[in-house]
Amino acid sequence: MSTLERLSTIVAELLRDDVRRVLVGEDVRQGGMLGLSRVAMRDPSLSSRVLATPLTPAASLAHATGLALAGRRPIVALASATALLEGYAALRELGRISATSAGERSAPVLIVAPTGPGFGLGGDGAASPDGVIAGVSGLRVAILGDAREAGAMLRAAANFEAGEDPTVLLLPRALLLREVEDGEIVETLGRPLCAARCVRDGAAATVFAWGAAVDVACAAAEQSGHDAAVYELGGLAPLDVEELVAAAAKTGKLVIAHAGGLSFGPGAELAALFADRAILHLDAPIVRVAGREGPLARADEMSGLPSVAALVDAIHQVVTY
């Protein structure tokens, strides 16, 4: 079973588990752009809660917000994370619902959107607007870093275990196409959504990465010949500040790796956090390695991810500083 097929099964499960849930999207009655609603549409008891809406980039997120305010639990299936930029005003409003009602009303909307390169689309279909989305206050922004955890992360996000904040779950396209053996599937996340975790231990340097950059970071740590640790962020909002600061203080030599362009990216936020909270532990300047600035041509879209070679250089640079 591919990762996308597995996610489709879990979406059906989620609809079955809680009758308040509805799946919303433009083409969800036809299976959805990612096929996420395929299994649910085969079950007549669920298909009435699969709500197809016309293409309404500005209104769709507000429509989902209205559904949530009325007690529903909408799961919005978007074709691309960049659709959130087309509906940015509504996304901002979703983030401040709680503030406008003095915390009395919440809008537990879950938005699921593929991000970054991987499908060969280039342009918006390869862009990584993670930072722009995480910059909207009031949202929880989680991002998948390990294809084996895709289903577990979707479940955790849909369950709103850590509170009813509207949540965006970003699924890197490069991970969605990865084949995962049935035996390797992680059924439950085993940590809170957006919690950071150590993927690879090491004492010489620490690489912080999220999304599709996690695998690149692991490959680079391996190839560098240095004893480098790799931390997966798990999410950008809220940042798992204490865990990240502790990890930074441990080696004092930090590399940050992420998809998308470098300028004004989330790497800057992280670097500022470490400068603020761990400056006395730092033994080298913080190095950021990102993808190429967009827009990316179809043929060249994988340059939207940091390269293993650039990361190997960065690790070497901080270790030998």
């Binding site: 709500l51 809406t53 507000a62 989902a64 209205g66 559904l67 909408p74 509504a90 009602s101």
Partner: protein, 319 residues
């Protein structure tokens, strides 16, 4: 009746400029005296709030038929997504005046000043009144979502969203019309169209003078009525709400209003463009209006408002 450039064309008249009830059937079962009191109270509210000097504030005198009748016709479990100037509906829905004054001033019950949307915005979730978000027109798709939930619940409830015609050029408006139409939502859009006696400037975005006609082309049921004719507004809103509750689909009621205090040409506006004056003429004809009646309503409302705003200011100072 002679032609007056301030009157909308092509609308059915129920209460004519002289206050004569042309269509008695339309007013059947409507307590016009009670309606009059509420309209006067709404005007008093508008005058009182205008005195606060809120930033970017514009008087809504002349538009009262919309807020008052929406509040009266919406069922207890229907939802209203008002614009920022439709606050007069809140006390009619049951919002306590102290709470009203505090919200208008942006003061919470504990005296704090939390983020409260646009100045003058208010909300009461327990009364089915949603807050007015800052992005222009965003409350329309929010209302569509609320209506969608009502449809899924199959509970025979409806959602009403109120806005001005200026928003009908926005993506939010067009997308909401598409959503409501495609998903067949129990949503009533109430559009207050300003009247331009010398023709609307292009930037007013009227795009053909009638919002009602425009949405008809999108497959929406719609009616255009004169906002100075409260009986006609009552009939159209009532019909739109009944259709929505009976799952007969979304609708739009375009209410043509004259902003009495907003422009510089106040003096030119004929008195019959004021919905309150027109209904007063009617009550007077029927022997149901006296200057004392008027004085008593106004004095009562003003007294209540002064008390409420005094309490609110005291909260602010005592913080």
């Amino acid at each position: 009746m002679e032609d007056c450039p301030w009157d909308p064309e092509g609308v059915e008249v129920c209460l004519d400029p002289e206050g004569q009830l042309v269509d008695r059937r339309a007013a059947q079962g409507v307590d016009l005296r009670a309606l009059y009191k509420r309209l006067v109270a709404a005007r008093c509210l508008d005058l009182r709030v205008e005195r606060l000097g809120l930033p970017m504030w514009v008087s809504c005198a002349g538009e009262e038929a919309v807020s008052v009748l929406t509040a009266m016709l919406a069922g207890q479990e229907d939802w209203i997504y008002p614009g920022v100037r439709d606050f007069a509906l809140a006390p009619i829905r049951g919002l306590d005046l102290d709470d009203f004054a505090r919200q208008i001033l942006g003061i919470a019950a504990d005296g704090e000043r939390p983020y409260n949307g646009r100045p003058g915005a208010l909300a009461a979730a327990d009364l089915g009144i949603a807050y007015a978000p800052e992005p222009l027109g965003l409350h329309l798709p929010l209302a569509a979502g609320q209506a969608h939930a009502q449809k899924l619940a199959g509970n025979g409830r409806a959602t009403i969203a109120i806005f001005g015609e200026g928003l009908t050029t926005t993506a939010f408006f067009h997308e909401t019309v598409a959503l409501a139409s495609a998903c067949d939502l129990p949503l009533v859009l109430v559009c207050k169209s300003q009247l331009w006696p010398e023709g609307a400037p292009a930037e007013a975005g009227l795009l053909g003078d009638s919002v009602a006609e425009r949405v008809k082309a999108c497959g929406l049921w719609s009616r255009r009525v004169d906002g100075a004719d409260v009986v006609a507004v009552h009939a159209a809103l009532d019909q739109a709400l009944r259709r929505a509750r009976d799952a007969r689909g979304p609708g739009l009621v375009e209410v043509v209003v004259t902003q009495l205090h907003a422009g510089t040409t106040d003096a030119d506006i004929p008195a019959h463009r004021d919905p309150i004056e027109r209904l007063r003429r009617h009550l007077d004809r029927e022997g149901q209006w006296t200057p004392t009646f008027q004085d008593v309503i106004e004095a009562e409302v003003r007294g209540q408002l002064e008390r409420a705003f005094t309490h609110a200011h005291a909260k602010e100072m005592g913080r």
